[in-house]
């Protein structure tokens, strides 16, 4: 589980065109009052790929993630998840269907330990019937032990054994991000949404995080959609990149192609609109 994969191995991944579409966003528009956050964006996420969403600040990247995750409901457009058009869904329903996420500003349960935080990611996997838990501890206790084992595996995988019992509020930022990833992994998601997983990290931490993301993708076969500002990381990690600017899609394709696109260069260097 702890195999170390270096970033340079990326060329070995399967050709992207062959893959099944996991999530499809069609002509989605989202506005808050008069502010248009997303305008008519379509994109797809294929099974098993690492999909990056990039763009300057305020481009609508996080809004896009929130739409996929069910926090926002777009006024127009449809979202198709595993071939089915999704109705208005709540975030916890998205979680039930196998979509996990991390947040831009780390949304951990600060008073709880690393272990409890990651355990909370297993909420959905555990017995729905809470009456058992109130009345008799037998089955509930056994279940707890079984899930605890899975969580320990994740802790080993992320190399955070040393902070298992530490309340996460006391951890440095980089480790908090890692715990948050752990919590999302505990959900055994089909699609993992990462909102700036490397923001505020130093080089070493970024390398670790990149390695974890690649491992998750390759070993568990988890599909990943990530937002990231570090271009080096994005180009190394992702199979396909979509670029947003002012709520519109301006490019979509493999990293090299996107990098060469004039629209993208303009967006990043700032050309008058």
């Amino acid at each position: 589980m702890n195999a170390i994969v270096t970033n340079n191995d990326m060329t070995a991944t399967a050709p992207v065109t062959e893959r099944e579409v996991l999530l499809k966003v069609d002509n989605v528009s989202l506005s808050f009052g008069g502010v248009k956050a997303i305008t008519d964006i379509s994109l797809d996420i294929q099974k098993g790929e690492i999909r990056a969403i990039i763009g300057p600040n305020g481009a609508g990247k996080t809004s896009m993630l929130n739409v996929i995750n069910g926090f926002y409901h777009p006024q127009e457009g449809t979202i198709t998840w595993r071939g089915e058009v999704r109705r208005k869904m709540k975030p916890y329903e998205a979680a039930t269907q196998g979509i996990a996420r991390t947040f831009q500003n780390v949304a951990l349960f600060k008073g709880m330990t690393t272990l409890d935080n990651i355990m909370s990611g297993r909420s959905l996997k555990m017995n729905k019937n809470f009456f058992w838990q109130m009345l008799w501890r037998g089955p509930a206790e056994q279940e707890e032990i079984e899930h605890r084992r899975k969580v320990e595996d994740i802790i080993d995988f992320l190399e955070i054994q040393a902070i298992r019992k530490t309340p996460v509020g006391r951890l440095p930022y980089g480790l908090q991000k890692r715990v948050e990833l752990g919590r999302a992994l505990a959900m055994e998601p089909e699609l993992l949404l990462l909102d700036e997983p490397m923001a505020g990290m130093n080089l070493e931490e970024k390398e670790d995080m990149s390695r974890f993301i690649l491992d998750v993708n390759q070993e568990f076969g988890t599909t990943i959609a990530l937002i990231e500002h570090d271009m080096g990381v994005v180009m190394d990690l992702s199979d396909r990149v979509v670029v947003l600017d002012y709520g519109k899609k301006i490019a979509d394709g493999p990293p090299e192609e996107v990098q060469a696109s004039q629209a993208v260069i303009d967006a990043y260097l700032g050309v008058s609109h």
Partner: protein, 317 residues
């Protein structure tokens, strides 16, 4: 003067140990009852970060429902079961109508909502049950009455009211059960998760609606137990709502998020009040019982604002 403050009370305690023990017992019982009320507040606070203003009125409402049903010819234990059902419906209703539309709103808005709820329940309760105080059906629920006197050799005797003993036992059982439930089970973890961060809880698939309904129901049960116990000692009336706010200093002492804190805080306030009133109250003309708790809480705030067992406040800059 100094003699009266620093020496005389302790001399009295030594010379009349029976009286002192009696005071301690009274303090203990009052403390346990405060702890019960505080527990109701802690449950809601843990799950939503909100000070539930309506906890006091829920105590009254539960008590009135129980007595009201009994007065209308429902047998006592059936009335008890029905009251539990009513508290369940109330919890579901609160979650559905008040809490659900307010997900992700600032805490202060939720607080305002609970104040609104308080006034609704006052009006609704008076509409259904009328405003007069009612007698709690303690005997009908097989709660013990009468008292036991324990002799202390030649030094006198201590009188223990049976209802107080029952109150203590029930409170201890409830507190233990809730403590285990919220600390050791998945629901408990989900509850703490919800309290910490609504969005993150939603993203890992915790249903806020379910958790809030459970918590309000648990708070409703605690309110019912409190209503029965307080009601048995006085009457069931809307005045009980004010008593419920005695829980505030208890919470400040114990910490808003800690179940053991609620108990210890309750006991400190209970003991402090009774001992203060009987040994030092005379110096200022008596009647300090009603405000001493708040003074203790204020002093406490200066030194440990998060309470004895509250979560440490870590400010990252």
């Amino acid at each position: 003067m100094l003699y009266d403050i620093f020496i005389d009370p302790f001399v009295q305690m030594y010379q009349m140990p029976d009286f002192f023990l009696q005071v301690l017992w009274e303090g203990f019982v009052a403390g346990i009852l405060y702890a019960l009320i505080a527990l109701g507040f802690v449950l809601i606070f843990k799950a939503s970060g909100v000070f539930n203003f309506a906890q006091g009125i829920m105590v009254v409402f539960a008590g009135l429902t129980l007595v009201g049903l009994y007065e209308n010819g429902v047998p006592a234990f059936v009335a008890l079961a029905l009251t539990i059902v009513v508290m369940g419906i109330l919890a579901y209703g609160i979650e559905r109508v008040v809490m659900r539309p307010l997900v992700n709103q600032p805490d202060i808005i939720l607080l305002m909502a609970t104040i609104g709820l308080t006034y609704f329940l006052i009006g609704f309760g008076e509409f259904i049950f009328g405003g007069e105080p009612k007698r709690m059906i303690a005997e009908e629920l097989w709660l013990p009455t009468g008292s036991t006197a324990i002799e202390m050799g030649e030094r006198g005797l201590i009188i223990l009211q049976h209802i107080d003993i029952a109150a203590a036992v029930i409170a201890i059982i409830m507190v233990t059960a809730l403590g285990i439930f919220f600390n050791k089970t998945r629901i408990g973890r989900a509850l703490r998760a919800v309290a910490d961060d609504h969005q993150a809880a939603l993203s890992v698939g915790i249903s806020l609606n379910q958790i809030w309904a459970i918590v309000w129901f648990a708070a409703g049960l605690v309110a019912l137990a409190t209503g029965i116990m307080w009601g048995a000692r006085s009457d069931v009336s809307f005045a009980l709502e004010i008593v419920a706010f005695k829980a505030l200093p208890v919470l400040i002492l114990g910490g808003f998020t800690s179940i053991p804190g609620a108990i210890i805080g309750g006991l400190i306030i209970g003991f402090g009040e009774k001992i203060g009133e009987l040994y030092w109250g005379g110096l200022v003309g008596g009647g300090i019982e009603s405000w001493l708790a708040y003074i203790i809480a204020l002093i406490f705030l200066l030194f440990r604002p998060q309470g004895l067992f509250g979560e440490k406040i870590i400010e990252r800059v």
